[in-house]
């Protein structure tokens, strides 16, 4: 059947591995509603922000101040007074909160069962999950709950609880409108596809994924380089426990999960051929980023590669309006370092640790979506700024 718009896939299309939470009919329907609501907000209501900006916000500011809007802060104040922006923002915030509630309602009712399944799978391969309770969650991560996920990555309702990880695993589908693939690994897959096509002779033996979370983008690295040893590190213990069990369930052997702070890992010098961060830097801080890049440089072997996936940087070529809209998640979806991270000159950041300018690289990547569902190739797609699975990848070779 022809459709006038490109519809998102249904949540049933996500692959169900052994620790995936059980969704009953109505829980699935709730996520389907929220996915469609996100799609509607991004394709129908969000474009109205640009219209309101051009037709209402800009002229009003000029009439009141006798000049154009000059800074993102001025733009913020002006936009927050616009009724369309208010409505879109209120709906978007509400949608994010409903997604969290729906995910929690699903996983918490089965939290003990999930914890048991995870423990059983982890016991099958105890050597590749290395927890260390002396590793602290960074202070800034405890001030707020990242992307308004109550309890963030590190909280447990009881010892062994993995409910937030299970909610995250099953719910990224909703915010990305189902564009990340059956295993929510479209980012990691796009990365390895690019790497193999561009540098066919690069054959990393040891790979580190910093801030790996539940490892949904770590596993594609292990699959793409089956002879490599892949290590995912994070300070969120429930994510590591769940991620490890998920990897065991999916039969991926060459991956380890370790509870470590990426700014001070304790790994020896020149320990890795490839060090990766995927949608991680924007969840750190300026100070942490400085320490991270030094740690990366220290741990990379000669001819090793470091890559980082984020949303596009706020460069001077990007309009102030687009920067502000992209900053919505920073201010209103508890991603407070988002704006500052995207303002960083990442080339300078990498060079500050010792990477040479001639060895820097940058490319764009789009999520690989392996779901089979009806798509309309002719439908006009509007970009959901800050949420689209279209990324900026930057990095450097250590020569």
């Amino acid at each position: 059947m022809a459709t006038p718009v490109n519809l998102p896939p249904v949540h049933n299309k996500l692959a169900k591995h052994a620790v995936f939470p059980h969704f009953d009919h109505d829980e699935t329907a709730r996520y389907n509603f929220l996915t469609n609501l996100n799609k509607h907000l991004s394709t129908v209501i969000s474009p109205g922000n640009k219209i309101a900006f051009e037709q209402r916000v800009k002229p009003k500011f000029k009439a009141e101040n006798g000049r154009e809007i000059e800074t993102r802060d001025e733009l913020e104040v002006a936009m927050l007074n616009d009724p369309h922006f208010q409505t879109w923002s209120a709906l978007r915030r509400s949608t994010m909160e409903m997604r969290q509630q729906a995910g929690r309602a699903t996983v918490l009712r089965q939290a003990e069962e999930l914890a048991q399944k995870v423990a059983t799978l982890n016991a099958q391969k105890p050597d590749s999950l290395i927890l260390n309770d002396t590793v602290q969650v960074p202070h800034y991560m405890t001030l707020f709950d990242s992307h308004i996920m109550p309890g963030s990555y590190h909280t447990e309702q009881f010892p062994g609880d993995v409910s937030n990880a299970a909610s995250y695993d099953s719910g990224l589908f909703v915010t990305s409108a189902g564009m990340l693939g059956k295993y929510t690994d479209g980012g990691g897959k796009a990365l390895t596809t690019w790497l193999k096509a561009t540098y066919p002779n690069f054959n990393p033996k040891r790979i580190l994924d910093m801030g790996c979370g539940l490892g949904h983008n770590t596993l594609p690295l292990a699959t793409a380089f089956p002879d490599a040893e892949v290590i995912g590190i994070d300070t969120g213990v429930p994510m590591l426990r769940y991620g490890h069990a998920r990897a065991v369930a999916l039969g991926i052997e060459n991956v380890k999960f370790m509870q470590l702070d990426a700014t001070q890992t304790g790994f020896e010098n020149e320990a890795f051929d490839w060090i990766q961060t995927t949608m991680f830097l924007h969840e750190t801080s300026t100070h942490a980023m400085q320490r991270l890049v030094a740690e990366i440089y220290r741990m990379l072997r000669p001819n090793g590669l470091s890559l980082h996936i984020e949303q596009p940087q706020y460069t001077p070529e990007m309009s102030m309006f687009e920067q502000y809209i992209r900053d919505w998640d920073a201010l209103y979806n508890n991603e407070p370092f988002w704006g500052a991270m995207h303002d960083v000159d990442v080339r300078q950041w990498m060079m500050s640790a010792g990477f040479e300018e001639k060895n820097l690289l940058q490319f764009g990547a789009k999520a690989e979506n392996d779901m089979e569902y009806p798509r309309n190739p002719n439908a006009q797609e509007v970009e959901d700024h800050g949420r689209s699975p279209i990324w900026n990848v930057f990095g450097a070779w250590k020569k």
Partner: protein, 119 residues
């Protein structure tokens, strides 16, 4: 055992932003969107039931589209709608009744309490 009902609706750490001029309106918008979601959920469940009934040969979905209620059924169905709408719009009806009530029958309980204390 954890209280999953309470925990499901936990607030995230960090102050919640309100965007509308009037936070009461935003509160109602949030409640309304949650109810809208539940209607979407109900619709999907009904859709599943219809498709299963069709697969099992119990009915054709075209029969649902073509269904014409008889007079008795019309009364039952319209009565359901009338009651349903009255329940939803109860507060509007009550505000209108207040306008029409004898002021003596629309006193605040502080006023009544004062009168009772003093008489």
């Amino acid at each position: 055992m954890i209280n999953d009902i309470l925990l499901s609706s936990n607030k995230a750490k960090g102050k919640r932003p309100y965007f509308l001029e009037n936070p009461e309106v935003e509160r109602v918008m949030n409640i309304t969107m949650a109810v809208a979601m539940e209607l979407g959920v109900m619709h999907e469940r009904l859709d599943t039931i219809e498709r299963l009934l069709e697969q099992k040969g119990v009915l054709q979905r075209s029969e649902i589209e073509a269904f014409e209620p008889n007079n008795e059924e019309i009364i039952e169905r319209q009565l359901w709608h009338a009651r349903y709408i009255a329940r939803i719009l109860r507060i509007v009806q009550q505000e209108l009744e207040a306008l029409q009530q004898d002021p003596e029958h629309n006193l605040s309980m502080e006023e009544v309490a004062n009168r009772l204390r003093n008489s």
